[in-house]
Amino acid sequence: MNDQWTDRLSEYLDGELDAQERGALEAHLSGCAECRATLAELRQVVARAKGLEDRPPKTDLWPGVAERIGSGKVVNLPAHRARRFSFSVPQLIAASIALVLLSGGGAWLAVQRWNVTDRRPTGTLAVTSASWTGHTDAAIADLQDVLTRNESRLDTATVRVVRANLAVIDRAIAEARGALAGDPSNTYLNLHLADTMRRKLELLRRINAIAAARS
């Protein structure tokens, strides 16, 4: 029926059409209930795909794996694996924080490797939270700018609630930073600060999405 339009619905859904194509398709959609329905169904398929649950295998496969890798703590390493592989603690922290930021709203951040200044595997660390929070702070600042521009689209009660909750999160961030200043290598404190900053990012993102949808 409307093959030329139907065929492009997935690309539209995924944001892959340029502005002109998108305009043309949206103009068509406003008059074509069938395409709208198909689009809704495609959305549901994508949502369903995202919601698929992971199931472990029915039988435990570990024994088969263990057998082939040689179980138990191996002391004699084959020559090609003899090189010891160790992360320095700053690398662990940087990696773990990258994971936390990625797994919760990282779509707004560029994926970068944090440059860790101290590579000594033992001893005190010169890593401070400044070395990894820079990127997050920048992302938060960007989103706050966007929110300020968008605020007029939200009503005052919502704005008030959002601001109050941003303040709650800011207080938590300040407290976490304070504790971290006194104990900069503490993994929990680093992760907690990262997690709290991520919450702020997510709230900003969510509110901006709501404001944008009102336009």
């Binding site: 139907t6 065929d7 619905l9 997935s10 690309e11 892959e16 198909t38 169904e41 495609l42 549901q44 398929v45 994508v46 369903r48 795909a49 995202k50 698929l52 649950e53 992971d54 199931r55 472990p56 295998p57 039988t59 496969l61 570990w62 794996v65 263990a66 082939r68 890798i69 040689g70 138990g72 703590k73 191996v74 002391v75 390493l77 694996r81 090189r83 010891r84 592989f85 160790s86 992360f87 662990l92 922290i93 990696a95 773990s96 924080i97 990258a98 994971l99 936390v100 990625l102 797994s103 919760g104 990282g106 779509a107 707004w108 951040l109 560029a110 994926v111 490797r113 993994t187 992760l191």
Partner: protein, 188 residues
């Protein structure tokens, strides 16, 4: 402003990352107990990926292959990405490599909208995703793999095209065909 799309899947349900990193370091130096912990954490995800991209019969064997390959290659894992991401990518490579080895080219890609509408969903178990996953398993392999990589696992078309050895246009159209065929099997 469109959000940046990240390369590879986002891992959400992970234990504390520093614990994973420590286990990875231990496993890379030969500690099989640490590797077993990593196995336990990731097996459901890897097995599900393999099952959806291949089929249920091969899934157990291929899952074991993935973990054995991971054990052997652990010394090359540099901690640049999360372990889960690295493992996941390795699993995709194992799956696609196997596909080339078995090598049935015919009928891999959908040329018209597949007549799946007469497939009735059946479920042996009360698990919710049976109907949808059963329909997924009936898609031709190419379309199914594109769908799994894009919609389930979050890869982009450029990457999928590279992995499967096709042009991005094919990846996009296969994705669309898969979605169109699957929409009749959304469980309610």
């Amino acid at each position: 402003m469109a959000p940046l799309v990240l390369e590879g899947p986002l891992t959400r349900d992970q234990p504390a990352a520093d614990v994973v990193a420590v286990d990875t370091a231990l496993a890379a130096s030969g500690d099989a107990t640490a590797f077993e912990r990593l196995y336990r954490t990731h097996v459901a995800r890897i097995h599900s990926l393999v099952r959806r991209m291949l089929d249920a019969d091969e899934a157990d064997d291929v899952t074991q292959d993935v973990f054995i390959r991971a054990w052997n290659k652990l010394s090359t894992f540099r901690g640049e990405s999360a372990f889960g991401t690295w493992l996941h990518r390795l699993a995709v490579n194992v799956v696609l490599g196997r596909r080339k080895a078995v090598g049935i080219e015919r009928g891999r890609y959908v040329t018209q909208e597949e007549p799946l509408q007469n497939v009735s969903g059946r479920s042996d178990t009360p698990e919710l995703s049976m109907d949808f996953e059963a329909a997924l398993a009936r898609l031709p392999e190419g379309a199914r793999q594109v769908f799994v990589l894009h919609d389930v696992e979050g890869y982009r078309h450029e990457e999928i095209a590279r992995m499967l050895g096709v042009v991005p246009g094919t990846s996009k159209s296969q994705l669309h065909h898969a979605r169109m065929a699957l929409r009749r099997h959304l469980d309610r």
